[in-house]
């Protein structure tokens, strides 16, 4: 039974989309998150009670509660994205590179890229089809046969050690938000909105983390530093809601677009705290906010590192579903993002210390 909402829930408008666009277009490959960090610091500093940047580059924000002995609730969203690192100058504008984070090398040939903090344009080319042997198109082009090409004569503009990522500009098309690195700039933007509309019933501990894509490393130290009562990782998870090759029913979709935020029960690194899963789903039911359970298995979020800090931290993850994660472009839905923000806001507002009083 849905009750009419007594809560005031944040909305996504032009200003929020513009922030997401800036975040999506920024280049912040794991290990050099500075461009996103600058946007985050700019947004959170005027609103935070405490704000610091730790040894790894995480942005840690505290917003104090307006009540005594509040629950201390941590939310984590990672600032970093998958990408590339230049490793060797082959001369003539050509650079060997390695991938940073989980990238399917089948996604690389024929793509424009941005290199370094100045977004120097380049491309990852491919062998002309005319020069290929029979059957060659059935074999994956190995990474060591690919180069990032910034053009002959431009070698001075970039150097080994520079990061690069897909040159994809954010677009809003119909019901969709489309861009690179929406995993997890959607989470980053969500945390910023939650700070703007911070409910006074909890102490809000926001971790904008680094190096999630290379092993949840920022979240590990952020979870330790905050030592919260509970934690929620806010991320993006794959929606594989596409037709099966043979037209049969797709029952391995992980999540679906337009079905609302995805609540995790189990992934490869976390068995979510059932009390938090029940609270999130109950909040959705109570206030009529759509949600879905992510199909259990595979994947992982910052919760995987957070829940085993110190003596253990009750944790769960909530993700905006997105198609084509870890490629040049993600397709997500405006409504799924809005519902994710609203579900989290409603769930936090209705949290009391009693939530953790029963044993797991």
């Amino acid at each position: 039974m849905t009750e009419s909402t007594p809560l005031s829930l944040p909305e996504i408008g032009v200003e929020q989309i513009a922030l997401l666009e800036r975040l999506s277009n920024a280049v912040a490959v794991s290990g050099d998150e500075s461009e996103v960090r600058a946007i985050v610091l700019d947004a959170v500093k005027p609103l935070a009670d405490e704000c610091s940047v730790d040894a790894l580059g995480n942005v840690l924000v505290t917003k104090r509660a307006q009540v005594e002995n509040p629950l201390r609730v941590m939310l984590a969203a990672h600032m970093d994205e998958i990408g590339f690192m230049l490793v060797q100058d082959d001369d003539n504008g050509l650079y060997q590179f390695q991938v940073v984070g989980g990238i399917d090398t089948r996604q690389l040939p024929g793509k424009p890229v941005w290199v370094g903090r100045k977004h120097i344009p380049g491309v990852i080319g491919a062998k002309p089809i005319h020069l290929q042997e029979a059957g060659e198109s059935g074999r994956t082009i190995p990474l060591d046969a690919l180069r990032i090409d910034v053009g002959p004569g431009n070698g001075g503009k970039v150097k080994p050690g520079d990061r690069a990522t897909f040159a994809t500009s954010f677009q809003q098309i119909g019901p969709s938000l489309i861009g690179k690195a929406l995993d997890d700039r959607l989470g980053v933007a969500t945390l910023i909105e939650l700070l703007k509309h911070a409910p006074g019933n909890v102490e809000l501990l926001l971790a904008f983390t680094v190096q999630e894509e290379v092993g949840l490393r920022g979240a590990r130290v952020a979870g330790y530093a905050f030592n919260p009562d509970l934690a929620i990782a806010v991320d993006s998870t794959p929606a594989m809601d596409m037709p099966m090759w043979d037209g049969s029913e797709n029952n391995r979709y992980n999540t679906r677009l337009d079905a609302g935020p995805a609540i995790y029960i189990a992934d490869s690194s976390t068995l979510a705290d059932p009390r938090l899963v029940r609270h999130l789903a109950g909040t959705g039911d109570r206030f009529g906010i759509p949600y879905q359970f992510r199909q259990p298995g595979g994947g992982g979020t910052d919760a995987g590192a957070i829940h085993t800090r110190r003596a253990g931290i009750p944790s769960v993850s909530v993700s905006v579903p997105g198609r084509y994660a870890h490629t040049a472009v993600l397709v997500t839905r405006f409504n799924d993002w809005k519902n994710t923000l609203q579900l989290l806001h409603a769930a936090i507002q209705t949290m009391t210390p009693a939530l953790l009083s029963e044993l797991r």
Partner: protein, 356 residues
């Protein structure tokens, strides 16, 4: 009259005009060429013919400069749950497609992405390998009902990558093959404004080269040139292209040599390039030149033909890269060859062994 070459090329690289459907690009080329030619018309197959008259007495000899304006791309073959299935127009390696930005030319132009379904959703034996085109899909970001109402089988899909300058002289974009060569002819026409030339110059933007060489066979039949020159892109050295078939990017246009090419024309272009110190490279073409010259040479009773190549990295991908210097040099070489053609030079285009 003047025209800025790089902005014009970038404009061409921003437009569709897939083989068989060249109207969008043809209009733009026609507008650019109109001030530099005396007559302009469109052939029954859609090729653009511009005539710039020479000064010699009639009947004047004619040189035909041909660059194909059609581009490779995709075509919708089916719609499934709001996703599009597709095939290719021209030769495309399916491995460059996943994640590619495209425009679906439906009831209106719709931005979209080519996507690779997760391995769990494709034929089990395809998982982990590059997917054939039949397994890939296009996602418009729209809901299934809207897709159905806006898109139908047969709709064209073109690449959406915006042309980008990597430096003053290096430019990448889709359909540089062969709009870079349309820019060559344009550069030649610009230079010819200031040059007296005896021969008629026919500037031709051909159609359907990527599929049937349809323009290459039909335009020379209508024009009946004395000689014909195909300008097309060739392989630049770079990843995946480093053998004898590949040439230095920015090291000058190539001058083709092989069975599609009349040796007297090759020698004339080479001697003009040498005399004027225009950087150039000789491209050996042992068989089919892979250009309109293959068609033009056998039109009607046969036409002495020549091939000029513009080195290009990553041919038939949407990030084709060229040096604008090579385009300018090729345009300059064409103009200077034309400037040097006297009316009686018709007799010089012959086989050495008939020189008695």
């Amino acid at each position: 009259m003047t025209l800025e070459l790089i902005p014009f090329l970038k404009q061409m690289l921003s437009l569709p005009g897939l083989s068989g459907n060249e109207a969008p690009i043809r209009e733009v080329i026609a507008d650019a060429w109109r001030p530099f030619v005396d007559e302009i018309s469109t052939s029954p197959l859609g090729s653009l013919h511009g005539l710039r008259r020479g000064q010699a007495a009639e009947p004047r000899p004619r040189i035909l400069l041909a660059a194909h304006m059609d581009a490779i791309g995709l075509m919708v073959t089916g719609i499934a749950d709001g996703f599009l299935r597709f095939t290719e127009i021209g030769g495309i390696d399916p491995r460059i497609l996943p994640g590619q930005a495209v425009i679906v030319h439906g009831q209106k132009d719709l931005p979209a992405i080519v996507v690779q379904p997760a391995d769990r959703l494709v034929k089990p034996e395809h998982g982990g390998s590059p997917l054939p085109m039949s397994d890939l899909l296009i996602d418009t970001g729209l809901l299934p009902d809207e897709v159905k109402s806006l898109i139908k089988v047969g709709d064209l899909v073109s690449f959406a990558i915006q042309p980008t300058e990597l430096s003053e002289n290096i430019l990448y974009g889709h359909s540089q093959d062969n709009r870079a060569s349309v820019a060559v002819i344009t550069a030649c026409l610009l230079e010819l404004q200031h040059i007296r030339h005896d021969w008629d110059v026919w500037a031709v933007a051909t159609t359907q080269e990527e599929e049937t060489l349809g323009g290459g066979y039909t335009s020379p039949f209508a024009i009946r040139p004395t000689v014909a020159v195909a300008i097309d892109v060739t392989f630049a050295k770079g990843p995946g292209a480093n053998d004898w078939r590949a040439f230095g990017l920015g090291k000058g246009p190539t001058l083709g040599f092989g069975p599609n090419i009349h040796p007297a024309l090759h020698n004339r272009f080479k001697s003009v390039a040498e005399k004027l110190d225009i950087p150039h490279q000789v491209e050996i073409m042992p068989r089919h030149s892979g250009t309109d010259a293959f068609a033009m040479q056998v039109v009607a009773e046969g036409i002495p033909s020549m091939v000029i190549g513009i080195p290009l990295r990553y041919m038939h991908t949407p990030v084709e890269m060229v040096s604008v210097k090579d385009i300018e040099r090729a345009g300059h070489l064409l103009a200077q060859v034309i400037a040097g053609l006297a009316a009686e030079d018709v007799n010089s285009i012959r086989w050495e062994d008939t020189n008695d």
